[in-house]
């Protein structure tokens, strides 16, 4: 769900997205907050809790902060219906990475830069959210 919320003179872009495991993501402009339902309580997750819930290991957690790695991110949320690349494959700008089924449309996700696939983080059937890393390139 997306909407705009006006508070005083400022308008905030709000997006609420339900993710698996009773997790809700609330994005306010560019800031993301994750909440978990715990019984009748809604709890704001701390950063290390977010990493452990989504299965990041220590190495990947560090990668999250590294700006120099080239990554291909999901431009929209959806389900991966096909993957066309594999680890250590050389890809060029414009190559199709995957087909992402979203909003009842078929979406070809293409690479915007060239490189070698260092880590492929998706497989067919995966659900991804906008901004999720699909591929790490070197």
């Amino acid at each position: 769900m997306k909407t705009n919320l006006k508070i005083g003179d400022k308008i905030y872009k709000i997006e609420i997205l339900e993710i698996d495991n009773n997790i809700i993501k609330v994005a306010v402009d560019d800031e993301e907050y994750f909440f978990k339902q715990d019984g009748e309580d809604i709890i704001l997750l701390e950063e290390n809790e977010i990493f452990s819930l989504f299965g990041f290991d220590e190495e990947e957690k560090n990668l999250h902060y590294i700006g120099e790695e080239k990554v291909i991110k999901a431009p929209i949320s959806g389900t991966i219906s096909k993957v066309f690349v594999k680890n250590e494959q050389k890809i060029r700008k414009g190559d199709i990475i995957s087909i992402l089924f979203s909003m009842k449309m078929e979406n070809e996700i293409i690479a915007e830069s060239s490189g070698i696939v260092k880590k492929l983080k998706i497989k067919e059937g995966d659900t991804v959210n906008k901004g999720d890393i699909l591929i790490i390139l070197e």
């Binding site: 431009p75 929209i76 992402l100 909003m103 009842k104 449309m105 078929e106 979406n107 293409i110 690479a111």
Partner: protein, 176 residues
């Protein structure tokens, strides 16, 4: 709108994507008398013998939300055109992008986007069962055609022009 017509083609969506990637201008339409590899969502085969109406529109550059809205509107357009031309037929829209007659599919719409950091290209394909006399056994209970429902052949050209006109009008209204 420029219409590029083929007697037989693998898929109008495939051709439209190829042309779009090569810079063919928006609102160009790829039309085919028949398709040998027509497909719907998830690559499912779309039965495309001669007689039906199969075409794909290279859409102007847009955002993904507008592409989705237009896909849904296209279903309404097709239903409206059917209703206005054939008063005995009661089309039903099965959101987001199917049109049915008496619970059988008469039209499917597939929008495909090519996305990098933004939407590079959007192509909307429409398969409308117009002048199809019969369907294979596996589709008999799921699909119908306007010819079967009306009992006579209809003009693909007339229906196509009406659909294209309305889709373009709706696109211009949502893109303001």
């Amino acid at each position: 709108m420029a219409i590029i017509k083929y007697k037989k083609i693998k898929s109008t969506n495939l051709k439209a994507k190829q042309l779009g990637k090569n810079g063919v201008k928006p609102w160009t339409v790829v039309l085919a008398d028949s398709q040998i590899g027509g497909y719907g969502r998830k690559g499912e085969r779309w039965f495309s013998p001669k007689g039906g109406l199969y075409f794909s529109i290279i859409l102007p550059k847009t955002n993904i939300e507008d592409a989705q809205i237009l896909t849904i509107l296209a279903a309404f357009v097709v239903a409206r055109v059917i209703k206005e031309n054939f008063q005995n037929i009661e089309p039903l829209i099965k959101l987001p992008n199917d049109v049915l007659i008496k619970d059988k599919k008469v039209c499917g719409i597939l929008t495909e986007n090519i996305i990098g950091e933004d939407v590079k290209l959007s192509v909307m394909g429409i398969g409308l069962n117009t002048n199809i006399s019969a369907f294979p056994k596996e589709l008999k209970n799921q699909a119908t055609s306007i010819k079967i429902e009306e009992g006579k052949n209809i003009s693909n050209k007339k229906i196509l022009n009406q659909i294209l006109k309305l889709i373009k009008e709706y696109f211009q209204s949502i893109s303001v």
